[in-house]
Amino acid sequence: MKILILVMLLCSSFAFSSGDTTIHTNNWAVLVCTSRFWFNYRHMANTLSLYRTVKRLGIPDERIILMLADDMACNARNEYPAQVFNNENHKLNLYGDNVEVDYRGYEVTVENFLRVLTGRHENAVPRSKRLLSDEGSHILLYMTGHGGDEFLKFQDAEELQSHDLADAVKQMKEKRRFKELMIMVDTCQAATLFNQLQSPGVLAIGSSLKGENSYSHHLDSDIGVSVVDRFTYYTLAFFERLNIYDNASLNSLFRSYDPRQLMSTAYYRTDLYQRHLVEVPVTNFFGSVMETIHTDSAYEAFSSRISDSKINSDMPFNQPSEQDLKEELQNANIPSDKLKTEKEKCPYTQMRTDFNEKLEKFENVDTVVNLSIAVMVVVVIVSSSLLR
């Protein structure tokens, strides 16, 4: 009976290749700043602010791919060397001690970006530069820079078109490189960049519609350039109020964008995304708060019996992956074989198994053992005083 149900689940997990049966296991972030030169200071500040937020909310450096031109902090024009600010009050230095840039300078190209997304690298590319996501990953893709109608300018030399992006996302879906993908774009006419997307499980938000520009927030007169864009500024304002344990939903994030303050319409696309935005916490993409599943069989010693009984109770809730199912099948097979062979033996073993089952139902073993030890001690004293 147990085996039948397990086999059915196995078949169903094979059938549902859409990622319905996979569980969310890790979070990745790909943060791309596509501009260079000093007057694009704000784009780098955008990306670094989001990098800091994402790290603060729990995603480690190993799971972040940061692509920056990285020519602001040590620029000759920077009055504050090795410091990058996103606000004129200079409270926060974004270029602190632990900024790990994976692609810098002239490595930020469309080719590298697409290679990162699809995972098709040369052999020699190190692991820190690869997006090593799997079918349980939630990926945040943030891009900022100069864009236009269905394109995004890369480093003033080339452009990424919307169908290139859609194609890359489709390849990712085929290769099961993500469970859910969130694309956030802060450029002019950002919403056009994800016009061509068709893969399910993708959520996209852009800072402006077709024909609208995205504006910078304010100018820092000390540094001499604008230091942050409006869309990113209000996103950060939302996140600065959060810590790792808050469960604000994506819906509240998207509702927080005020078109009058942004001076553009923040447009988001949810037709490819099955879940309701009210139910999705922001830390699903912007942070890394994992759901822990408590199991009793923490240690290996003699846990097969416990896991055997747990199979029945856990099945409706947990949808384990194939490997777990296989292991449970093996575990379930072994005790059933034992039972079969025992029943073929003589009635003495039958009696013993019955006795064992009776004993198993005994709850307070401890008190019985203590009582027996006390009885033993009394017998010792009595017998040693009587028999000499």
């Binding site: 010693a301 003699f302 004993l359 198993e360 073993v365 401890d366 053992v369 030890i373 033993m376 040693s384």
Partner: protein, 507 residues
């Protein structure tokens, strides 16, 4: 150096030459009644002093327990081993309460019965008192009981010694004035031994194991067969090595207590026979008939029956207690299997951890067999040589297993040192005693220093601590060898004394 006996027909005098003991000879004859009164007063004084010392040691332990954190003694590797640590017991108890096998995670490796008894005590906390207070009290009570039982054993041995001395004609009157009260001495040595105090305060379960061993010996010595069987079964159940005590206990129950070799008694009797009447041919066959002591098979069979009964009880209880967690197989694998396979290589005062940290896997089983057979192959020759002194044989077995066991600690040393004190009358002329005393003292002082240098400061390395452990093993081996040779020298001295005695009488 033996002792010189001056056979004085009028008054008894037992003059022991040697560095340790000197008795003033009473030259003047006093009335017998006042002598008896003096004896009673002496006895009273002695027992008063004994009780004062015993109670003060208990008070001392209680004072030490009241210090917070038990003076960090429970974390010292010399005191708590993977088998005796109270923290591991508490962990095993917690695992059991969380419906997991107490042996899961390879923390606890002891008996499930001990877990049921001591486990709840580790959890209970009284407000304002140091933690594990109840456990400490249990160990103090175990120490007190062990001391009382040692005193009982010692009294029996002392009586037997006196009786044998009189039978051999070495001691004329019924006054045992020259004989040291080995029971009191052994009990006080046990209570005041720093090793015992440290194991008690450091919350290792060695006091309970020692209690079981002493219980077995007490039962055997006072011929309470069920008690001896119970003690032996519990001691073997708690730690595997007291199983070697089966041989001395069977010899005690079969042949009787420690006595000089049979030949000496036969020589005495033959001389007496020669004295009393003219030697005739018909006497000789009588001698041949009685060259062997009768072996009491009935008592030994009784003892084996009780051993089987108690072991059945213990095994049934353990199986019941571990019913859901693997049963007896799991228990044997994790307790005896752990002891025999030396899985845990954390440093202790023994020598195996260092060795097995560097031996190749291919040779590991071979060396395990070598080290365990090292204990086993010494059992039979010693039993053959010392079969007339089974209590001493028990002491030697315990000493050897303390040196060569998988996870030794100072609790084991405390046991055999106090058992050594039971034989002060025979071992009074042991050589190198001062050297050994200094050695033990030095090793026990250096051991924490070397451990600190290695682990905490990092200026030393494992060789420092291991050198200490090797030194300790060497001192223990010299101690065992010297005590055996002192005992054998004592027997030879007795033989010489008797020969000279009879030679004098003849002449």
């Amino acid at each position: 150096m033996g002792f010189v006996i001056k056979p004085n027909i009028n008054s008894s005098s037992f003059h022991l030459s040697g560095r340790s003991f000197f008795i003033r000879r009473r030259q003047k004859k006093k009335k017998k009644k006042t002598r008896r009164g003096e004896m009673a007063e002496d006895q009273k004084k002695k027992s008063c002093r004994f009780w004062i010392w015993a109670l003060s040691s208990v008070v001392f332990r209680l004072i030490l327990i009241s210090f917070p954190g038990n003076l960090n003694l429970s974390s010292r590797p010399e005191v708590s081993t993977p088998l005796t640590s109270i923290r591991r017991l508490a962990e095993g108890y917690w695992l059991k309460q969380a419906s997991m096998s107490p042996y899961a995670g390879s923390m606890y490796h002891g008996s499930p019965l001990l877990l049921s008894v001591l486990g709840p005590l580790t959890v209970q906390r009284i407000k304002g008192q140091p933690s594990h207070l109840l456990c400490s009290l249990v160990f103090v009570i175990a120490d007190i009981l062990s001391a009382m039982l040692l005193r009982g054993i010692g009294k029996k041995l002392q009586m037997a010694y006196g009786l044998n001395a009189r039978l051999l004609g070495l001691l004329k009157s019924s006054r045992d004035k020259g004989i040291l009260p080995c029971g009191d001495i052994a009990a006080l040595v046990y209570l005041w031994n720093p090793f015992t105090i440290v194991s008690c305060v450091g919350l290792s379960t060695s006091p309970i194991e020692n209690l079981a061993v002493i219980l077995a010996l007490f039962g055997a010595v006072t011929r309470r067969v069920p008690l001896a069987a119970f003690g032996l079964v519990i001691a073997t159940h708690l730690s595997l090595y007291p199983a070697t005590l089966t041989i001395p206990i069977v010899i005690i129950l079969g042949y009787g207590l420690d006595a000089p070799p049979i030949k000496l008694f036969l020589q005495t009797r033959s001389v007496e026979n020669e004295e009393s009447s003219t030697p005739t041919v018909s006497k000789q066959p009588k001698l041949k008939q009685t060259t062997r002591l009768p072996f009491l098979w009935k008592t030994v069979a009784h003892f084996l029956f009780w051993v089987l009964l108690w072991s059945l009880c213990v095994l049934v209880l353990c199986a019941f207690s571990l019913n859901k967690y693997g049963g007896l197989d799991e228990m044997f694998k994790r307790t005896y299997g752990f002891i025999l396979s030396i899985e845990d290589l954390s440093p202790n005062i023994g020598v195996f951890w260092y060795f097995f940290a560097e031996v190749f896997d291919f040779f590991r089983n071979f060396f395990l067999i070598v080290f365990h057979v090292n204990i086993l192959f010494m059992l039979l020759p010693l039993a053959i040589r010392l079969k007339h002194r089974p209590c001493f044989l028990a002491f030697i077995y315990l000493a050897i297993s303390s040196i060569l066991k998988s996870y030794p600690s100072v609790g084991d040393s405390s046991l055999y040192l106090s058992l050594w004190a039971l034989f002060v009358n025979e071992l009074v002329d042991m050589k190198f005693s001062f050297f050994l005393f200094c050695g033990y003292l030095g090793i026990s002082l250096l051991s924490p220093v070397m451990h600190n240098l290695w682990i905490w400061r990092g200026t030393g390395n494992a060789n420092f601590y291991f050198g200490n452990a090797i030194g300790y093993a060497c001192f223990q081996i010299v101690f065992v060898v010297e005590s055996v040779s002192a005992m054998l020298n004592h027997d030879r001295a007795l033989k010489r004394c008797i020969n000279t005695n009879h030679g004098e009488v003849k002449n």
